[in-house]
Symmetry: D3
Subunit: 132 residues, 6 copies
């Protein structure tokens, strides 16, 4: 159960309403996801978080799907249930099927394991990545 | 400093040598990265880990670069220095420039933050992802 | 569902009863929180954990609220639902309102993000903190 | 070693220079910390991150020192060396002495432990925090 | 709720059926645990994961119970509810009683705490482990 | 570099000296490991941490080596370099050779991976562990 009361769309005014409207328009959805309704407890943080996230998710050198895949990999690694549900929905909406999801999970599985091998044996870097 | 002695290519025999050779061929490199030289302490684990990792990284529905991007996102989230260096080298070799790396880091930054917002307020899922 | 049977206050005897009583007195509550009822499976660990925690939470150079804020920040970062609920209740009881909680969450959000930026680029320390 | 080239203050122009200047003014320091020099690889992300962080750290219901204490507790929990150095320097500059730092560490120690007790026994919440 | 449909034993064919059968035989159980039914979305990953896990859990220098204890310690540290339930069941089946479980939890508690003390003060290694 | 000055054995007095002496006697070593020298900044926390840790590590239903193995598994999962070095030294001193260490690492690798599979697919528990 949430630890703060979620602000409904009806209650939202000013900065909160503006962000709620932008979320629905940008995402093409007709409701405001719970996380944003909770964040409305701190309207400035809501606005700054939405703008930073919105910018980070805009297609650039990496496309939208690749960015959602990264978000899902991070959420799985952190074990955040809300986030895993949300980004799984997002990657599927962008066309990733269960077979591709299975590949994503395989990579997340493998490297969470090998990360610990590298730590266990305190392995030192082979070659540093080339600077640009 | 590593907590086990790294096996050199000269010392490798049998199962270990076979894996070392396969790593160099598959990756197109002329040395065996330190993590595999440490894993040689347990030849069966070395072989099973390499085969699982090799299979997980083969291009399928997701291409090679997307898979290395996932590996890097996981490694950053876990804070594994060896792994970050290794996968940064890999994504750059596959054509990701610093601008794209900057986008990847922005997404990892944003969702490590929002994962904690979702936890902080104990937010419940909006909609479950559609089953296939 | 808990993986061990929680000991009720009625069943508690000896060392367990003494700790249960001290918890209720120290915290000014009329029930024993579930975590302590589970810990009663190992009475020595229960006692040592309670004494260490009780001492760590006593006001010193840092006051009680600041210490509960730290406990909540740690619990959010780890994503521990029981702990988040417990420490959110505690900070509110000590006078933190939702607006202040929103500020706390904003800081936890920001630094879980920037922690990953520092790892992503393998940034080295600027200046070490002055020794005393 | 950083995986990207750090931008020097001399090289900075436009958006990057503006952020660098604002960092030095806001913090009252005469150099730009390494993390911001690395972030300059992605000027938009640099600007959005700085603005969000700057806003989150402004004194509000919680004062500046409490916010730096939260940042340090998060960084210790994540094991981020750069971040621990940076926020230890910050809390000391704001007046926290080693004795108070020792209290902070004691709380971080205790709750990283008890977080795992709660997980180990899959303890369910006692009482939910009061909604406002 | 799972984000993919769990494959039932009746539906399983080929590689998936072979792994399902091997799981039941190896573990001496008459059902296929949910995680393997989910993994069936990616039959190759299912097979490689099962083989690697099966090999890692075979008694060698470390016996079966010690290996399940390690698996439980890892799962508690990561806060993975499914995994904690599964490995708690396993260690109890192998003879660990609640008193011994309480000792395991005490060690996991203590070292999740001291890990953060070591990070907080950026402690450097005393002596490196002897190489063999 | 440590963020606090490490107290030397020569400087130690009172409670700190008593703990330092007990550490050397209990462990059969002739120096005080760095983590305890740092903890001396907060003598009460030093004493409570040492007593809790000492008790948790005493052989009971689980023997000393099994307890050190758990400590190492936790430290690898958290990626704490100081702790990994310290507990690797400890398990080797208690007789674990590199082959057994390789088995331990294999189990830690496998379950850090499968923990993420369980999270990725939001798998629900099969059967809860039997209550005692």
């Amino acid at each position: 159960m949430p630890t703060v009361r979620l602000i409904s769309e009806e209650e939202a005014t000013g900065k909160v309403k503006a962000v709620f409207d932008d979320i629905k328009t940008t995402r093409g959805i007709d409701f405001v996801p719970n996380i944003w309704r909770a964040l409305a407890v701190n309207p400035d943080h809501l606005e700054l978080t939405w703008h930073k996230l919105k910018h980070a998710m805009e297609p650039g050198k990496l496309d939208k799907l690749t960015k959602e895949i990264i978000a899902l990999a991070v959420s799985i690694t952190n074990g955040c249930a809300y986030c895993i549900n949300s980004h799984t929905t997002a990657v599927k909406k962008l066309g990733l099927d269960n077979e591709a999801l299975g590949e994503l999970v395989a990579v997340v599985d493998v490297f969470n394991g090998t990360n610990r091998i590298a730590e266990a044996y305190q392995i030192e870097p082979d070659i540093l990545p080339p600077e640009e």
